[in-house]
Symmetry: C2
Subunit: 344 residues, 2 copies
């Protein structure tokens, strides 16, 4: 059996020192408190020998900071959020922070619970990708004084700091590509209405059409969920239209999977029977039946920037230079858009 010191008092006794001294040495305050280097060394050696590591709970209680960050995500199984979570965890770990992960299941009520839990657990800060439009509970949490950064979407009517993709620009790129390829009748299957990420993308969709003098057909904008099923259902609707579009702009990776499922059921091919551009590049995008043209969001940057911003809010007294950002996405052109030489 290895020798073991379970707390600072035990270690102090074995070393014939006081807990005070041990604590100070281990926290790198030897100089400040004039602990002799021989004593310091004794403490370091002892800590290793007796395999002592401080109880972070007790430490957190006393210091009133836990070096813990909350991360609330609507769906951690979605690789888009998964990779954001990854970079946040990795960055946090580098800086000594741990992540408490909460999956809100896209439900505002669960999200509110998680928020309460995290404040009860005295997280030093929270990064949240909000589940819905309602944001009162988030604003309240922030007003209780907990540093908070919003990702993926921002919340209008609040001035919570955020890091998101420039969704408007992404939609613009995608649509300009479709239009250049000769498409005029383009449907847009959207996600949750009223969420900034969605609104901005739809805005980009509309503005791109407007710029080119193409009339906006309201029936072409449909759907209300970022999930696969919505993509499937809306596509079925589209295929039954009088005057169906020649292309679909999908506002999420899951939506485009649903589109593919519906098209496949009807025996339709991309891009010959239907052109497609989707938000969210994925590792499999190049290997689909028809390699897909996508808008790639800068996931890693979102994670990094969000973490840095949160850290800044935690550490800085002057909240002057807290600056939200919309990061540029990238259009990856593949084969899922058919070239139309003649206008349809």
């Amino acid at each position: 059996m290895v020798k073991k010191a379970n707390n600072i008092k035990e270690l102090a006794e074995k070393l014939k020192l006081s807990p005070t001294t041990v604590s100070r040495v281990l926290n790198g305050k030897s100089k400040t408190f004039r602990i002799s280097s021989v004593t310091s060394q004794k403490v370091f050696d002892g800590a290793r020998e007796y395999n002592y590591s401080p109880n972070r709970i007790a430490r957190g209680l006393k210091l009133e900071k836990t070096e813990t960050l909350g991360l609330i995500i609507p769906d951690i199984a979605n690789p888009y959020f998964g990779s954001i979570a990854k970079t946040i965890e990795v960055e946090a770990h580098k800086r000594g922070y741990s992540i408490i992960l909460g999956d809100s299941l896209e439900e505002v009520s669960t999200e509110a619970e998680l928020l309460k839990l995290l404040t009860g657990r005295k997280a030093d800060g929270i990064i949240i990708a909000p589940a819905g439009k309602k944001s009162r509970h988030i604003v309240e949490a922030e007003q209780q004084g907990i540093p908070l950064v919003v990702i993926d979407r921002f919340l209008p009517d609040t001035n919570l700091p955020y890091i998101t993709t420039n969704n408007y620009a992404g939609a613009l790129m995608a649509m300009e590509h479709l239009i250049e390829m000769g498409h005029r009748n383009i449907a847009c299957i959207q996600g949750i209405n009223g969420i900034s990420a969605n609104t901005d993308r739809v805005q980009g969709y509309c503005d791109a059409l407007r710029k080119k003098g193409i009339a906006i057909n309201d029936h072409y904008i449909l759907g209300n969920d970022f999930g696969e099923l919505n993509g499937y259902n809306q596509t079925r609707k589209i295929l039954k239209m009088h005057h169906p579009p020649t292309a679909i702009f999908a506002l999420s990776n899951l939506i485009s999977l649903g589109i593919l499922r519906a098209l496949k059921e009807e025996g339709l091919k991309v891009p010959d029977d239907m052109s497609l551009v989707s938000f969210d590049e994925q590792p499999y995008s190049p290997f689909l039946a028809c390699p897909m043209t996508t808008v790639e969001q800068p996931r890693n940057e979102i994670g990094k920037e969000a973490f840095e911003l949160l850290l800044q809010i935690i550490n800085d007294k002057n909240q002057e230079n807290i600056i939200s950002k919309k990061l540029m996405p990238k259009l990856i052109i593949r084969d899922s858009v058919k070239k139309f030489s003649i206008s349809n």
Copy 2:
């Protein structure tokens, strides 16, 4: 500004009660300590009115349990682990536990750090998908007394409790399908050698061949990583072989993506030029250029069972009925295997 009680003492003062009483009421011990129902009600109302929620850090310190579970995963961006993490988080949340997430980046050293961190943070238990073959640090953590469950892989030479897929059975199914379809020369691109999940799958590969009296060609078993690049590199090797196989059995979702990339570069088609079966069903599997035949692991069950098992270890004194499990996977047959009528 809302009225606010930041700790139990403040709340007690406002209610003209002692912290003792408040604590007992809020912990549902009114009966046991004969707190009158009128007092109890006063406490409940007060807690709501002053928006009091107990400091879980202080609570954790005193109670010596934090209702926090550690989850260590090699790559949270991989949807396979992502969905396991999701079910674990959701189940845990239902039972009042929070999850501290750690991404080991497939590195044993990072994994060891995370393990230390979690014990320092006094997690009540840990669920870990080990990154490598080395497991000393994991065993040590468990011997320090922290409840621990291993997922995805088990660690031979230890008797740590585990929940995994029955990888042997999964490989057997996949191979039997390939053989039934007439394939005799089947390559196997494997993941990290020496890891149980990999070893078992390779064992299934070999046994399936043996059963059918097919000689095992050592050159057909190659690779040493679960990542995309390994799939790509090994496929390039395979394509240069004297006597190339007619089918590849990929031991992970990422490996099969790498295979697809290599095949695509050479202008080869699945299944006409190469048949393919892969471990790990994915949402996109049906929509690939050739809809892929896959082995689906029971991710949700793995998550649930692992959590239940951990809870059992945490709560039960008698560790008699701690029982590890290998859960059955499912073969999903699509179009990526070509039918060979004539033997090749």
